[in-house]
Symmetry: C2
Subunit: 205 residues, 2 copies
């Protein structure tokens, strides 16, 4: 479905050199972005009727469109806009899920500048409506993945706004997030973490 | 949040003439598209903490991007893609909602060619996950609005595929849909219909 670009880079007009052969890709996920991995996971969940989760399109502000005769319309001037929500949402067994997937190459902490304030606000709004909002964070160098609920993220966000540290440490993810063990298919089984979260949440109520 | 274009037209490089004064707009919704009305309704629901429902961005296939020095990136060649899901989704009091808003100028029936097959399939997948998938249909000439669940839409869709009529009549909307009474704010209170639908659905189970 979605086009993949190697080496974690966004689309560039000149195509980046492939530094790994196809064989390497089948043995390891090096070179795949977290977005690729989450999209594959969502495809797996959809095909196996586990959940219906889609990535939202990137919001674009369109300024100029050409209509060349009978050919399809060509957008000739447009700009990237800041998304007002998270990237992923959908439904899992009646639950509304809403999340943002972020990766860092850091080995010891996740910088909060990777998350936008309006995304934090959106996740709060979702949680108020009894939706399940969360982050999927990849420490890509370590190949470790974590689920963190918006309620927990809020604590670290508030700490930052009160002058505290501007990141969440790996140790804090281990203590207050839920680790996701990557697999072959699905690659990043974040619904396992959602299940654990629901168990904990429901036992609290 | 979203830019509105008068007269139900999509963005055109040359700006369309405004045919109605601002005063007219405050007394009537003539000239507003259903999309405008649903977006306003969603803004109302969000501000009043009733629900968190957003329109998805239009999917665009980006082919060429310029990076003019320090200025922001300019998309120079891109094309509209066919959406693989519906336009709207979000969360309402723990329920996952997913819908498509469509309007017709017809006075007696809604042509099913307004709905794409992949959208029907997507709505089925949502319903299988216990999400609430539906259409909001406006008979704009009549200023009448209807909710129709994906389960009911499926019946008419199958009828068409078995060689039957290619539209849903107004009478059928009256009999098997739920009418939405338009108001001032929210303009198209479709959640009233969702509430009624949930009552009916829950009493069936």
């Amino acid at each position: 479905m979605s086009i993949r670009y190697p080496n974690g880079k966004r689309y560039q007009p000149t195509s980046p050199k492939k530094t790994a052969s196809k064989k390497d890709y089948s043995f390891s996920n090096r070179g795949k972005t977290l977005e690729d991995e989450v999209n594959e996971t969502n495809d797996y969940y959809l095909q196996h009727k586990v959940a219906v989760i889609h990535k939202k399109p990137i919001p674009i502000q369109i300024v100029k469109v050409d209509y060349p005769g009978r050919a399809r319309a060509v957008i000739r001037e447009a700009y990237y806009r800041t998304p007002s929500t998270t990237d992923y949402n959908g439904v899992y067994n009646g639950y509304y899920l809403d999340f943002e997937a972020k990766e860092t190459k850091n080995k010891t902490s996740f910088p909060l500048q990777n998350v936008h304030e309006h995304q934090v606000l959106h996740m709060r709004q979702v949680a108020e409506q009894n939706g399940i909002a969360f982050l999927v964070v990849a420490f890509s160098t370590l190949e470790r993945y974590f689920f963190m609920s918006s309620q927990t993220l809020d604590l670290y966000w508030d700490r930052m706004n009160q002058g505290g540290r501007k990141s969440i440490t790996l140790d804090e993810f281990e203590q207050t997030g839920i680790e996701i063990t990557p697999g072959y298919a699905p690659r990043v089984p974040y619904l396992d973490a959602v299940d654990l979260y629901l168990t904990g949440k429901e036992s609290e109520e």
